[in-house]
């Protein structure tokens, strides 16, 4: 039996959905993008062009929901299936677009550069339980305008795993899409075998900005999955009630969904988000709070209720160092997201309000992800009778350690962590230098960097994408360590 958790009553789910549609019908949403306005007008909607507001009839919302697929399969760079975003399946990817990194040597937060992202990608590539990459770290050593495409360029080169990415400028989509096509072979193949997901964040309350509209329109045209990341902040730009935030999240997400289905019925979309419990003391968006977890699981249930693939930013921390807060926040969020069956769980490695990536933490979080996979497999009956025959063995033996049955099952029945998790005796721990989890993770990072098998991307493709990404006088290929 797969363990599960229920947050909302069924009647409440329908209520949330109906009220979200009422909001879109009566209040409407703000749409900044000209192409989106034209698409909505062509669909016969009455757009208030001056105020850029449009109201959506419930029938159109329902029709759009019918055409949106309930499953998205992600494939790696080689074309191998990685995961199906559907049902209660889960997949982890690191938190994306961090401005800073937690330096593993100094334990201080600093601005990130290309090497940080390359190392991070190499490490994530080898992590067993994190099955997707993300364009995780903003590299301050390249011009800001090409930052988004540059991150995708590096991720494509250093990793085979599918990538969660996104545009930071409208113009970038063309370049990013061309690189993905170059890697996949052609446009049709990219559509058949999605390699990247593009995040698009509506701005609360009920606003779809120029950039994010363009991203979901462009993605819909090419069959690239869009991941909607609505982020209401309780009591600030959204109701303070958790359910109120869930309703607003639904309305914002449905608005985006309608646009994509008008562009191309059947366009793949993910019911995602990064809502936050607004901290009433600091005014910060507390992303790892228990309230945020509740909102996330609640809106995920709405997504499942509407039969859509789901996503959430969970399993990260707002701590600034690798301390107990970093651990409990990450552990709680990851396990609960896993139990809920959030299809794509983003956040591994991330700290400090989605602004700081930690290469040590991503290694630790890989363990939490592994334990979560283990947990949701639940308890399985392997034998009939269950234990009786094995207990008979004790009439002759004092232990089962070398028994066939133990050897057959122990790797599946027990979660076997890496050395990152401390399970040594006190004496051993002292004799090995009293290392903290951060120290042990750092050792693991160094091992993984040494073990990285090297870039395996086809050299012709590497040349192609290096050509595609060329920008003014910048030769990005010279920044690679190959």
């Amino acid at each position: 039996m797969r363990p599960n958790i229920k947050i909302l009553e069924d009647e409440i789910k329908e209520k949330v959905f109906v009220e979200a549609m009422e909001i879109l019908e009566e209040i409407g949403f703000f749409v900044e993008n000209q192409e989106a306005i034209e698409i909505l007008q062509e669909a016969g909607l009455n757009v208030d062009v001056e105020n850029r507001r449009v109201k959506l009839p419930p029938d159109l919302v329902k029709k759009s929901l019918q055409s949106a697929p309930s499953s998205i399969t992600l494939f790696d760079r080689e074309g191998k299936e990685v995961t199906k975003l559907e049902g209660d399946n889960i997949c982890f990817d690191p938190g994306s677009a961090a401005l800073n990194v937690l330096d593993p040597e100094t334990n201080k937060i600093r601005t990130a550069v290309t090497k940080d992202f390359i190392d991070f990608t190499k490490v994530v590539e080898q992590l067993e339980h994190i099955h997707a990459q993300s364009t995780a770290i903003i590299c301050s050593d390249v011009p800001e305008v090409v930052g988004d495409r540059y991150r995708l360029y590096l991720a494509l080169i250093y990793s085979k795993k599918p990538i969660v990415t996104g545009t930071f400028a409208k113009e970038s989509f063309e370049v990013m899409k061309d690189m993905l096509i170059a890697v996949r072979g052609d446009e049709k193949e990219l559509k058949n075998k999605p390699l990247a997901i593009f995040d698009a964040c509506p701005s609360p309350p009920l606003k779809w900005s120029n950039l994010t509209c363009q991203s979901i329109i462009d993605c819909a045209k090419y069959g690239i999955p869009s991941e909607f990341v609505s982020m209401p902040m309780t009591g600030a730009n959204a109701p303070v009630t958790l359910l109120g935030a869930i309703v607003q999240h639904a309305a914002e997400t449905l608005a985006g969904l309608v646009i994509t289905q008008l562009v191309s019925p059947g366009a793949p979309v993910i019911w995602g988000g990064s809502p936050a419990a607004f901290d009433m003391r600091k005014g910060t968006m507390y992303l790892a709070s228990v309230d945020t977890i509740l909102i996330d699981l609640g809106y995920t249930e709405i997504g499942k209720y509407l039969n859509l693939p789901t996503h959430a930013y969970l399993g990260m921390s707002d701590a600034k160092i690798l301390d107990m807060q970093a651990g409990f926040e990450t552990g709680m969020g990851t396990l609960l997201a896993g139990i809920k069956g959030v299809n794509m769980i983003s956040g591994a490695g991330m700290m400090n309000f989605e602004s700081t990536q930690s290469i040590q933490k991503v290694v630790i979080d890989n363990e939490i992800a592994g334990m979560t996979f283990k947990f949701i497999n639940g308890i399985i009956q392997r034998d009939e009778p269950i234990a009786k025959n094995l207990l008979k063995v004790f009439q002759e033996k004092t232990h089962l350690l070398a028994h066939d049955h133990t050897l057959k099952w122990f790797r599946e029945e027990l979660y076997l962590p890496s050395e990152v998790v401390d399970r040594s005796t006190k004496e051993e721990w002292i004799s090995k230098g009293r290392k903290s989890i951060g120290d042990r993770a750092n050792e693991q990072v160094k091992k993984l960097l040494k073990k990285y098998p090297g870039v395996t991307l086809d050299r012709d493709i590497l040349s192609d994408i290096s050509e595609i990404i060329k920008y003014k006088d910048n030769d990005f290929r010279s920044k690679l360590d190959i």
């Binding site: 677009a97 401005l99 930071f168 400028a169 005014g283 602004s355």
Partner: protein
């Protein structure tokens, strides 16, 4: 309850109606307007202190600021008529072009206004030229420019560069704000400062204008 106690009560409870009634009472009964404003000001400062001590939370602080504003709006025409200027200074505030996030900015604007600054809030997605034009128009002391996104943060630098180009840099102090803003960024672009919350932003604004 004595009048200043009543002011304090209205502001700390965030009772907008009560604050308004008290202000009307001052005018109707021809009480000393300046004394009344002093009373309200003391109360709003106490709200700020309570916030910094962790007793007050943001919703309470914002509500106090709104109650304060409600009272001041009633006093304003009288002060204008008497040509009395109690304003601590003039501030132009907004969120940079390309960025439609404005929670933080609105919070800071409300606190500045409650403390007695004349605040011109330009809203969100504001072009740099609008900041400068408005600052010139109202003869502002201070420009506050907010950015939430790393992609729009560069607009803060552009504002300062633009002020330099127009030989206006010395005329206005510039405070920058927003989640990605760091002390290093303040230094790099040559801004006059940034603060970690709305209450310290007010303190910083006061300090800058006094200097």
């Amino acid at each position: 309850m004595i009048f200043t106690e009543e002011c304090k009560d209205a502001i700390l409870r965030g009772n907008i109606d009560q604050a308004r009634d008290l202000a009307h009472k001052v005018l109707d009964e021809k009480l000393d307007v300046n004394n009344a404003i002093d009373g309200f000001s003391l109360a709003i400062r106490e709200a700020g202190d309570l916030f910094e001590e962790g007793e007050f939370f943001l919703p309470e602080l914002m509500r106090s600021a709104e109650a304060m504003k409600a009272a001041m709006t009633i006093f304003e025409p009288v002060l204008k008529e008497r040509k009395e200027d109690r304003s601590l200074g003039k501030i132009v505030i907004g969120t940079i072009e390309g960025d439609i996030h404005d929670i933080g900015k609105t919070l800071v604007a409300a606190m500045l206004s409650a403390e007695g600054f004349e605040v011109h809030d330009l809203g969100a997605d504001v072009p740099i030229s609008t900041f400068i034009d408005k600052a010139l128009e109202v003869d502002a002391n201070l420009i506050c420019i907010s950015a939430l996104l790393t992609t729009t943060m560069v607009g803060q630098k552009k504002l300062i560069d633009s002020l330099k180009e127009k030989n206006l840099r010395d005329r206005f102090k510039v405070l920058i704000g927003g989640a990605p803003v760091s002390k290093q960024w303040v230094k790099e672009i040559g801004a006059d400062g940034s603060a970690e919350n709305a209450v310290s932003a007010v303190k910083l604004a006061k300090k800058l204008i006094e200097s």
